[in-house]
Amino acid sequence: MRPALNEIWVYLSTSPLLHLTLTVCAYLLGDWLFRRSGRRALFNPVLLAVLMLVAVLMLTNTSYQTYFAGAQFVHFLLGPATVALAVPLYFNFSKLRRLWLPLGVGLLAGCLTAALSAIGLAMLFDASAATTLALVPKSVTAPVAMGIVEKLGGPPSLTAILVVSTGIIGAVIGPALLDRLKISDPAVRGFAIGTTSHGIGTARAFQESEEAGAFSGLAMGLNALLSSLLIPVLLYLLGIA
């Protein structure tokens, strides 16, 4: 019986199906735990799924490349999902038209704060040049942030992790921080979360309300646009890249 089992494992572990299935199941389990915990911020489904998957991959001695061969099908959907943000945006457009000036200035302030705070804190704690570069676009949605860093000669895969971490942090502490700052308008809450925490923040904002989610998605898109224009200029002016 033993050799047969082994053969099945060898077969499955090289097929994309296994890691695609594991990714979806780990997320569903993470989401179930999140809801069972009474939606406690620390039980963030992405965080739990990542921890579970890393543990499984390390225990089975599987490389990230092998894992990604299956997980890429989930990863790919980031593109269509970004396009899909146009729909809730359309249905919340009247409010956008009324608030465009405060939101525009807020976006500019947030975009600059994200980049400059990353550079300042990285320098303060003696981060290497590559790490500093990878930290700068961490509030920008993953595919765009990776593109920015790659163009500037930094490590894109490190950026991806910093982007996801920033997203999780924003989703975990964002709502509580906004409560403390007494920001109650769902449009403003969503926009601030999306500027800071891109898609993961947007997923969190959609749990608050469709309106918060729509504005978060809008902020994510606009921040991607603005950052891809501003960050290269900013780094050039600071003499970093």
């Binding site: 990542v50 980031l78 899909a84 146009a86 000036l101 200035v105 930290l135 993953a142 921080l177 700052l181």
Partner: protein, 120 residues
């Protein structure tokens, strides 16, 4: 549902094609989102038709970040060496960015001529 998904892919493709052809710094999907928004503004029926599918996709948006997140295992060494700088920059950076953005919007919105509540 399949129609809506096809529309999303077509707009993403259009976005990617435009950014490549015109050498834009904007990512393809973001331009695709802008193009789809323009299309729905011209034909609102399109938005109503797609609403169910996009709602379903966006509800599970955070799952799509899991594969990138698992990439953490590629950088164990760097994370061990520079964990303090990374943790401080990520956590404090997120707090400051969130607060600055939200407070800027609120201060400016409060100064705008108020519209009567319950309009809309």
């Amino acid at each position: 549902m399949l129609q809506s998904f096809a529309i999303l892919l077509v707009f993403q493709l259009a976005g990617e094609a435009c950014t490549q052809l015109l050498h834009l710094a904007v990512p393809g999907p973001v331009l695709g989102m802008a193009l789809l928004f323009a299309a729905i503004a011209l034909r609102p029926a399109l938005g109503y038709a797609m609403r169910t599918t996009t709602g379903g996709l966006l509800q599970h948006l955070s799952m799509l970040f899991v594969p990138a997140g698992v990439g953490v295992m590629l950088h164990a060494g760097r994370l061990r060496d520079e964990w303090l700088a990374i943790v401080v920059a990520v956590v404090l950076g997120a707090v400051v960015t969130l607060a600055v953005t939200a407070l800027t919007i609120r201060v400016l919105a409060d100064r705008m001529p108020q519209q009567e509540a319950g309009e809309e």
